[in-house]
């Protein structure tokens, strides 16, 4: 192997790669984004259901927390591996563990958000004659939004990081560039995959932060007020 290195210089980044392999980079980036969106979307739907159960039936909170914490401690390599015999090297095998890891933070924050709504506000909504559905959607959900957004940011950022691991089962977006580079001992795709996945995490974090601010303008006014 050393002889190969001596013959062909193998810089950490070879800039021509961006032009030559742009299609590859683009499709890897897109796949990374798709896996993240599917996983967090699925996680959000499941968390909404679990949180609704936990908020409606108090006794269910502890078992739900225990279950999501248990899922979170399963190593990603093990979880990806164990699903392969059942679902193959498919996108589903990648998305299910990724979604499972988001449950802990999302359920915790959704429940905390709804619990933080003050009883006076609930009573005011009741005395205005709001139906339970309207109360949840128009009063409690907006007030819980900062907590949900905070949870979503952590979930998205950590999911972008774990998506790279899904490269071991042939998925994994930018993680695939990392593995391909490693297999061929060609460092440029590795560097690009690693750096782009970190940048993607930062970009999505900023995006959700912006959307959260746009959704809760009153929270910004409160912050600016002395």
């Amino acid at each position: 192997m050393n002889a190969v290195f001596a013959q062909a210089p193998n810089p950490i980044v070879r800039w021509e790669y961006f032009i030559d392999e742009w299609d590859q980079i683009q499709s890897a980036l897109l796949e990374h984004l798709e896996l993240t969106v599917y996983a967090v979307g699925l996680g959000l739907i499941a968390s909404a259901g679990l949180s609704a159960i936990a908020l409606r039936y108090r006794w269910a909170l502890a078992p739900i927390n225990g279950f999501t914490a248990f899922l979170y401690t399963i190593p990603s390599v093990a979880l990806f591996g164990i699903l392969v015999p059942y679902f193959g090297l498919s996108r589903l095998t990648a998305v299910l563990p990724l979604a499972a890891y988001t449950l802990l933070i999302l359920v915790t924050n959704i429940v905390a958000g709804f619990n933080a709504v003050s009883p006076e506000v609930r009573e005011a909504a009741d005395s205005m004659g709001m139906t339970p559905t309207r109360k949840v959607l128009q009063v409690e959900l907006p007030l819980a939004m900062p907590y949900i957004i905070a949870g979503l940011r952590v979930a998205v950022v950590s999911t972008v990081g774990i998506v790279t691991v899904a490269a071991i089962i042939g998925q994994g977006g930018l993680g695939r560039l990392i593995l391909d580079g490693l297999r061929r001992a060609f460092w440029t795709p590795m560097t690009i995959g690693a750096v782009l996945s970190i940048l993607l995490a930062l970009a999505l974090d900023g995006l959700i932060l912006g959307v959260g601010r746009w959704l809760t303008p009153w929270a910004q006014r409160a912050r600016r007020a002395p």
Partner: protein, 240 residues
């Protein structure tokens, strides 16, 4: 090229057949060797993280320095993509001449282990009852004694919880090393995937998940025993 030299594993072994076969555990690529490989690397990471972060964080918290950085670090600690970081470090490590193993994964895992230990130590010491600290000072304790005998003692439970989180995260993440040119306990998942051998794959996943669960259990036990006598009495009276 090394793939051909590997011991021929029969296709589609039974999961438990393989796990309970003594031959799988012994030998130069047996489970025991891989397990030792993983445990040694993870221990080095957790020990280095603990002996650097606990003194640093407790000193910063004791002198009330660096207040702003904490919330920023919480986000950062969740955001570290270990696989990408280790992947990025492989070419750099080779360039410096440190080789494939174990530096890239070691440094990547270290980055993963530092934040929980730092954060727990920092917040635990910050939240020690100022009354207790003032009482110790009034009794003539030196600043070092205040830090070691009062603040650190009262913070022990939370610090150990931080070390547990770091250890479990490190053990759960270490298997990616098998996909980055190394071995360790993750190798059976890798080989199972590579050889299309579902039995080996599931057995490997069980081993990896089992070690992570065992780590959490061991640290829970340590937390139970390692609490200073006075603090334990305090905790039991508080819960009564």
């Amino acid at each position: 090229m090394t793939l051909l030299a590997q011991a021929p594993v029969p296709r589609d072994v039974g999961v438990f057949e393989w796990l309970f076969d003594p031959a799988s555990w012994t030998g130069s690529d047996g489970i025991l060797v891989s397990l030792a490989d993983t445990v040694i690397l993870c221990s080095v990471v957790v020990v280095v993280a603990t002996v650097t972060m606990v003194p640093l964080a407790s000193w910063l918290a004791h002198t009330r320095r660096g207040e702003v950085s904490v919330s920023w670090m919480v986000t950062l600690s969740r955001a570290i993509p270990t696989f990408a970081v280790a992947g990025l470090l492989v070419p750099i490590s080779l360039r410096i001449g440190w080789g494939f193993e174990p530096w890239p994964i070691l440094i990547a895992l270290l980055l993963l282990a530092l934040p929980p230990i730092f954060l727990n130590t920092y917040t635990a010491i910050q939240q020690v009852d100022p009354g207790a600290v003032d009482a110790a000072r009034a009794m003539g304790y030196s600043e070092t004694s205040v830090l070691v005998r009062v603040e650190l003692a009262l913070a022990t439970a939370v610090i150990l919880a931080g070390v547990r989180v770091a250890a479990v995260t490190v053990v759960a993440t270490e298997p990616i090393r098998a996909f980055l040119g190394g071995d360790g306990l993750g190798r059976y998942v890798r080989d199972g995937l590579g050889q299309n051998n579902d039995g080996l794959l599931i057995a490997g996943a069980i081993l990896v998940a089992g070690l992570a669960g065992l780590t959490a259990l061991v640290f829970r036990l340590i937390e139970g025993f390692a609490l200073p006598e006075g603090v334990r009495r305090l905790a039991t009276t508080a819960t009564r």
